[in-house]
Symmetry: C2
Subunit: 474 residues, 2 copies
Amino acid sequence: MADDLLGGLAAIVGPGGVVTDGDRSRFLNDWRDKVHGDAVAVVLPRSTEEVAAVVRLAASQSVPVVPQGGNTSMCFGSVPHAGDRSIVLSLSRMNAIRELDREGSAVVAEAGTVLATLHEAAESVGRQFPLHLGAEGTAQVGGLISSNAGGTGALRYGPMRDLVFGLEVVLPNGTVLSDLSALRKDNRGYNLNHLFIGAEGTLGVVTAAALKLHPALHADADAFVSVASPAMALELLARMQDRFDTAVQAFELLSGSQIRIVEDMLPAVRSPLATLPDWAVVIHLGDPDHQAGLRERLEDFLSGELSSGRVLDGVVARSTAQAREFWKLRHSVTEANLKAGFGTTLDASVRVSAVPAFLEAASAALVEAFPDAIPVVVSHLGDGNVHFIAMFLYDRDGPERDPAKTADDVQVLINDIALAHGGSFSAEHGIGRKLVGELKRLSDPNRYDLMLQIKHLLDPAGIMNPGVLFPPGS
Amino acid sequence: MADDLLGGLAAIVGPGGVVTDGDRSRFLNDWRDKVHGDAVAVVLPRSTEEVAAVVRLAASQSVPVVPQGGNTSMCFGSVPHAGDRSIVLSLSRMNAIRELDREGSAVVAEAGTVLATLHEAAESVGRQFPLHLGAEGTAQVGGLISSNAGGTGALRYGPMRDLVFGLEVVLPNGTVLSDLSALRKDNRGYNLNHLFIGAEGTLGVVTAAALKLHPALHADADAFVSVASPAMALELLARMQDRFDTAVQAFELLSGSQIRIVEDMLPAVRSPLATLPDWAVVIHLGDPDHQAGLRERLEDFLSGELSSGRVLDGVVARSTAQAREFWKLRHSVTEANLKAGFGTTLDASVRVSAVPAFLEAASAALVEAFPDAIPVVVSHLGDGNVHFIAMFLYDRDGPERDPAKTADDVQVLINDIALAHGGSFSAEHGIGRKLVGELKRLSDPNRYDLMLQIKHLLDPAGIMNPGVLFPPGS
């Protein structure tokens, strides 16, 4: 039977398209090497027709299919389950940019296109594709769509969902739905694209997408300011958006505890402010018009905020080098925290205006349950996305703690608080295999049930990425 | 049985909530008085719980439910079918604004909230709700969502779909799904909101929505320019977006034939240009920053375009009054066309870059099939939305024509051409009861079949707005 399957797969994708020997670990394990899966075959189709044929063959033998892009999921969403007779379906060889359309502000890219390649293609016609994240040299279009990736451009441009005109998808029955016309307005019945965006490969295989391009930026300005509280940061954000609107490209809130850890652990990285603030915001403005005069307008605005006392202290970068220093502090957070202790980082989101109340409740609950923990905050405030971090510093006294169990306990504690504030425990990383239990525990039963019904409608045999989003056998 | 139903409904919504006598025509007929329906009852629930109870009662007796907002559909999507024993469920009394949140850029409004009321609410906190259309004094939030309304703000802010954080929906089985937290990032499984946006009431009843607010605008600039062709208008659009990005709020293409009709029929309305252009564009820029210097930057930009020959002639408005003159010409189109002859207006969309090819093909096909017709073009070019108008002037010689049959023939002819250019025959008006046949005729069968399967999954008894989107009994 396995031989039949392998022979059938080779007949579809060609002998070079089935990886049976050699090192398959990059297909079977997650990138941090935390989860190790098994597969009866790893296949690399070259076309939508080949994907459809693979899916039909898998369906005929009830073999699970695990769609895989760059395999950079934070939640183990693209690795097969150990013990399953799965096919890993890697889209890597489907990496053509089928169309690049400046006037239509559109690019049609196959699922295996690496994000950095997409950036270059957009730049080649004087435009930008504005989704940026750490793994952009590896992450692929299909995975970014299937996980509705966030990243640093989300405040201005939205997550991946907002950058998709339409999709080409192979359904679990092997038929192909195609919507690559890049229409800005289309009201012909139900919008099916959005079902597949963020579905993590459980409803079908995304094989290509028509994506939105935006104008490239030619002017910018950066500031590093301190404020008295998250509520004051929120007020500053509202006032900046009222004045600068879409020019506000990034607005990152840092707790003083986070800045202190960076400065303690990485002596070369300093805040530009004279004293350690309780709260700081790093701000980036950008505009396509080189005559936009952003720096002058930002200085004008912030001097008003300083006079009124809404901002306590602040520096506007006078050079690109100085702006880079501001952002170096922000981007050194992970490195510094790893040196300082062990931490559990949450991926919560609440409504933007609820961030202060959520931070207060989460911090209080954390120190009550874990008196030796330090609440550390790194927040994409403009998205309501809070990476709340429970830090256990190595140089601080406290009970012996098992990091894994502590991480689980912190997750449950803070996820419950996010929910109580109308929020989400998975803002931008998705569910994968990691948060299947939390999704079931924390979802409205009616919503969960309807999601399952949709899963059963599209994938009655349950062959698409089983064990992701829902427990195996759901 | 009908008495049982009426008694049951009165018990739910109170005696004042069932309209049985008096003039029910505004609930039963469309606003242009073209379609006349019947209903066993018109009910006006006051709460989500009452809506759920009405839906459960209707389901128990297999009575169709027609959700209705302001009843301003262009496609008869909110009127009951003549001869059906339907309940018209008017959301008009559910018109509370539950939350108005400046810092969260969010408003939670019930389905019966009139669009103009929403505008006022946003303005009261110094923000804007940017969807604008002719019927804004009547159209309601629930209908705008269910039809994914477009309007004049769509170029900059997208259609209604892009302005929704989340929905509260009563499903056909009477359960309530609620997602009113206004989260900007949330990756907890399938996004169900988008299924209901544009579903025209066939999958459930939208009872409330969390909607996005945007910064208010405090600077603007307007221009009226002529270009040699739609292709040159497209190039101008791309160059303007590269420089002004989201400040480009409107970019409307008019054919010379349209300008001539306006000037012939309405002598008080003139183009600001010295000669009648072949093609003209009316442009509006807007920015929240009063210091944005838009007029100077627009003059600087257009003088470069004039020097290069990409723009043939143009005027930048020196005053608000002059800007109003430019837009008066644009907004006089319907009135002038009604005086000039009979016309059939299409609601097509194609990819923005495909507009020139579509216009050329549509114009050629029209004059070949109807030599007495004049192709007239009014296009939201930035959306790829083309209101292509086949005009039959009263003062022009031609065969005797039946307007209704001619309209049908023109529709089929031009819809086919839109499809051949990868486009849609329903860009912003939806399907309703009017275009059910065209949806079936022109859809990919796999897509149509999946839409029907989703309809059957959510509404197995077929009680929700039957005859809309799909033929009765589908």
